[in-house]
């Protein structure tokens, strides 16, 4: 804590090396004769110890992005059409299945939305954590057991030694998610993919799990890709936010920029749809109300050269979308136009970290 105190709130130096760079990732699914583009040309960058929040409504391709990192997309029906995922300067998409086995759970771990069904019902919690440890660490059963007990204690499960022998159904939802986190972190991963880890939990448990994740991230200097559709969670946890819609990035900025100056109408729509206490309204504003408003899709501020925010539908889709850095370190998905063609295009890449203990208020 003391070291962090001396740091400024905004660190905007690009000195450290990115931990993971996703570039132009495109994943599609073949379903009964039609092809769904789940992710279409997505790029993002995560630095060590950074938290990137991947935000967007259901079905916009968040889980597919995370699963692609671990190459857990079933092929078929899935197909990773193009792109690269550089992790510590190796392209994960070029690794063989055998090489991926050494990455999964070791360098990159993942936790999921459904703590109820994500654990194997016929094995004890301990057996499942120990399995992960034995896979990636060169230890014997006894040492693995000790590591598992420590991992359980680290996520706040008391009487860890007895609890190792419990079956998943003997745990509550929150406890199971703790066990999932213990399992994911038992091998000290550098990156944690958290796919809506608190969505299925009730609010108080949700807060506890988030607090736990923050604590563990700080202790272990771990980067987190946090998938959520809860903007409150984003506000409290994220360093960088990537807003997705229909498999594409609509806005990409650090958390303060995004919340203070949202540029894309969809992002504004998301903020507008957050209910406010005391707001003199009978009905909540929906995202649709904002994105269907033609006024919103007029030229972006500061761009009089015909730069308009992108939205799916209508014209030729592949030519129609450009992710453009409209201000330094602030990217917005724009409609293709001549002016943008002449601009240098940059990959979304923000090396920014907030002070981890300040749970932001905006």
């Amino acid at each position: 804590m003391t070291a962090a105190h001396t740091q400024p709130t905004h660190i905007e130096t690009k000195q450290s090396k990115p931990l993971i760079c996703i570039r132009d990732l495109a994943v599609s699914f073949e379903t009964n004769k039609s092809k769904v583009k789940a992710v279409d040309g997505l790029s993002l960058t995560i630095y060590p110890q950074q938290t990137l929040a991947l935000v967007g409504e259901s079905g916009c391709g968040k889980s597919v992005t995370a699963l692609s990192v671990l190459q857990l997309i079933d092929q078929p029906p899935g197909d990773i059409e193009r792109g690269s995922i550089f992790f510590d300067s190796t392209d994960l998409l070029k690794l063989s299945e055998k090489q991926m086995l050494k990455v999964r759970g070791k360098d990159i771990a993942m936790i999921f939305q459904e703590p109820m069904t994500s654990l194997n019902p016929v094995y004890t919690i301990g057996e499942q954590i120990i399995e992960a440890i034995l896979l990636h660490q060169n230890v014997d059963n006894k040492q693995a057991m000790q590591i598992a007990i420590k991992a359980m204690a680290d996520v706040g499960i008391d009487k860890a030694k007895q609890r190792l022998r419990a079956y998943p159904h003997e745990f509550s939802g929150g406890m199971r998610q703790r066990a999932m986190i213990a399992m994911a972190l038992a091998c000290q991963p550098k990156l944690l993919l958290a796919d809506e880890p608190t969505t299925a939990l009730d609010v108080t448990i949700q807060a506890q799990i988030l607090e736990l994740l923050r604590k563990l991230q700080r202790q272990r200097n771990m980067a987190v890709m946090f998938i959520t559709h809860d903007l409150g969670i984003v506000a409290e946890n994220a360093d960088v936010v990537c807003v997705m819609y229909a498999g594409r990035i609509v806005e990409y900025a650090n958390v303060f920029d995004l919340f203070n100056k949202p540029q894309h109408p969809y992002t504004r729509g998301l903020f507008a749809s957050i209910p406010r206490i005391g707001a003199p309204k009978h009905r909540l504003t929906t995202v649709d109300q904002v994105v269907n408003d033609p006024k919103e899709f007029k030229k972006l501020p500061g761009y009089e050269n015909g730069v308009e925010p992108w939205w799916p539908g209508g014209e030729d889709e592949t030519r129609g979308y450009v992710l453009h850095e409209i201000q330094p370190n602030h990217w917005v998905g724009c409609k293709h136009c001549e002016y943008l063609d002449s601009q240098i295009s940059t990959n979304p890449d923000i090396d920014f970290q907030r002070k981890k203990w300040c749970t932001g208020s905006f």
Partner: protein, 333 residues
């Protein structure tokens, strides 16, 4: 369980009484009785078996006949002995229980062997089908299983007898009759055992085919269902390899629903034994039931149905207990 059994007796009782034919009527079909003789024969059996009584009285008197009481008079005093007989056979005149003592082990032997065989072969088959889903092995097996499932035991048995026992195609691999060769009881133990096994092969194969097809399909479905479960994704994310996902994670979970199928297979086996024992001339419960049905031997048919019901409910009980033992989520209360 008792209410179930009583329900079974009621239903079987009604079916038997309303089925065409009467005790004694099978002798008419041979055509060696005059019309008068037929009428006399029928009314003899009617009175002898109380078939002229109202149905409910017949039903209760059947219950009474399950336990015969005998009054044995000795010089000093009379003693009443109770004997559990399950009624008497009209044709052999022996009690059903005494027949069962000889026949039930034979039928249970065939059924048990078949069920064991089914599980041993069907589970790996289904697993392999699930893993090769959509590929040639899976599609081929699916077709074959459908065929096995649809082909009647009678046809399979006839074909097997025709091609493997008679020597008409140059092979005479198996015996086609009974459970032992003549004089087998004088053989040394292991030779006797081999002889018994040799006789058992065809009947067990015939009776297993349908159940095998069923269980293999269930195994395939169960494995596929488990492969799409969240816990499989978790295991993959941990770095467990594909083969270990199947071996350590999916296999055990997929077996759970298969345990209870034991209770489904048992009635299959008992029903199949009627046909198979008839075809291979094996003196088990099935053949006994078959004869009883042909002879309209009411008491025996009813007793057999009752026994099948009791056996099946024990099968259910065993399946439930085994399931509870295998699944940590279920505890005895």
């Amino acid at each position: 369980m008792f209410p179930t059994w009583i329900g079974i007796t009621l239903i079987v009782f009604m079916i038997v009484r309303f089925a065409p034919g009467r005790p004694g009527s099978e002798s008419f079909e041979a055509g060696y009785l005059s019309a008068d003789g037929q009428a006399a024969s029928l009314s003899y059996y009617q009175r002898k078996l109380g078939l002229d009584q109202p149905l409910y009285k017949q039903y209760f008197s059947w219950w009474r006949s399950l336990f015969s009481t005998e009054i044995v008079a000795s010089e000093e005093h009379q003693t009443r002995t109770f004997e559990f007989t399950l009624g008497y056979s009209l044709t052999s005149r022996s009690s059903v229980v005494s027949e069962l003592k000889r026949r039930l082990p034979i039928t249970l032997l065939i059924s048990t062997l078949s069920i064991i065989l089914i599980y041993i072969i069907a589970i790996p088959t289904g697993l392999l089908m699930a893993v090769t889903r959509g590929r040639r092995f899976d599609i081929g097996s699916n077709t074959l299983l459908l065929a096995l499932w649809s082909v009647p035991i009678v046809l399979v048995a006839t074909l097997l007898i025709g091609y493997t026992t008679t020597g008409s195609l140059g092979v005479q691999w198996f015996p086609n009759n009974g459970l032992s060769s003549i004089g087998a009881e004088r053989l040394p133990f292991f030779a006797w055992l081999a002889d018994r096994a040799w006789h058992l092969i065809l009947p067990v194969v015939c009776i297993s085919l349908g159940g095998f097809a069923y269980l293999a399909k269930q195994t395939r479905a169960s494995v596929l269902e488990n492969l799409s479960m969240d816990y499989v994704r978790t295991a993959k994310a941990k770095g467990v390899s594909g083969i270990n996902i199947i071996k350590h994670h999916v296999f055990r979970n997929s077996l759970l629903p298969l345990i209870t199928i034991f209770a489904t297979l048992l009635p299959f086996m008992l029903a199949g034994s009627v046909i198979v024992e008839k075809i291979f001339n094996i003196e088990g419960m099935g053949l006994f039931t078959f004869r009883a049905v042909m002879n309209r031997d009411y008491d025996v048919v009813q007793a057999m149905a009752l026994i099948a019901g009791v056996l099946n409910s024990f099968g259910l009980l065993v399946a439930d207990i085994a399931y509870a033992a295998a699944d940590p989520r279920i505890k005895y209360r």
